[in-house]
Symmetry: C2
């Protein structure tokens, strides 16, 4: 094992440091977040720093970079309150990654990259056509993180769309079967293979695979 | 696609709902977080809601469940300020999952599950022996989330330990080669296969795999 102290890491150029630190936290649950702006233009961005916060109430958070770097998604959510999160499947990965390009104001990434808008459930924001796991949220809270100018955006889940055949009898969604991807660092993507599942752990017995 | 509105999801029993909502946000970067308590007893817990917050300063956040459900890690970090995060490799997955059992106060999960403490860099908290990617943090901020009693715990990275042979010339850590695992829901684990890597996206050209 090689020791990389922070003084060394900080001395690297910003791209080298960015790749290293971005990969350090592990593989990430990459998804597309869709919003609609006050001008009615839809917006789509790729986000990987998404976290489950709790099941009851059902809350999911994501990190929005500083406004000067990533202005549209947070502005549209603050103004419109509603957004959708859509898992990425290998079939449209290239188009999903392309949403990370900085398109000018007034351009919808849906149209620019060639992804279809799927409107449903009377929800005021589109879902991503072809995404195997789609969910709709209402803004619950935006928590500014003064340490580095980012925002932790928390939403309440309102609707979920997923093929019921990949929802297990215990409620677990089979994301292997869905083909949901993960990301690594800023620009790498992987697929996931099942490895093991365990019974609820108790102190008086060893781990048991099921 | 099947529509699951939140009223239906809320009507399910808590285990079914927990599996469903926990799997909805995607595959998660599962890791072991080590701390040392005020009593000198080391503590180890499995955490999957970990997010990269920024590269400069290098910040990583994780979600700690409410204190009554998960009291030790957050208490130890608040008291001692320092902790380590350690990726999970298939070689010790069973022992890693077993740390989720509720051991009584005064018992170290390292000893209880049979994982070795690795002390290094003069750091006051051990790393997990055999973990392929290990990093040390100092507490930067605990943000309470009143919506559901959880906490977003933000740390500043101080040290990273990883085999330099799996750090690319551009800084990206090869987590496929490291064998870093992901988790799904509460109790499933997967391994990741590389799929694609892209050039930096620009609006005037299509996505380019590299």
């Amino acid at each position: 094992m090689t020791h990389f102290p922070i003084d060394l890491i900080s001395s690297w150029d910003r791209f080298h440091r960015g790749h290293f630190i971005n990969s350090l936290s592990g593989f990430k649950p990459v998804s597309l977040i869709a919003t609609v702006g006050p001008d009615g233009v839809s917006n789509l961005g790729v986000f990987s720093n998404i976290v489950h916060l709790g099941a009851d109430p059902a809350l999911v958070g994501f990190v929005n970079r500083p406004r000067e770097a990533a202005p549209h998604t947070i502005r549209n959510i603050e103004a419109g309150r509603y957004y959708t999160i859509n898992h990425i499947h290998p079939d449209f990965l290239d188009r999903a990654h392309q949403t990370s390009a900085k398109y000018p104001d007034g351009v919808s990434e849906f149209a620019a990259v060639g992804l279809g808008e799927e409107w449903k459930a009377g929800f005021p924001v589109p879902f991503v056509e072809g995404s195997p796991v789609q969910y709709a949220l209402e803004l619950a809270e935006v928590m500014p993180i003064p340490l580095n100018g980012t925002y932790f955006v928390i939403g309440r889940i309102l609707h979920v769309f997923v093929d019921e055949r990949i929802v297990g009898s215990d409620g677990l969604i089979d994301l292997y079967e869905a083909g949901s991807m993960v990301s690594l660092g800023l620009d790498a993507y992987g697929t996931v293979m099942p490895h093991a599942r365990f019974a609820y752990a108790k102190p008086d017995r060893p781990a048991a695979r099921v």
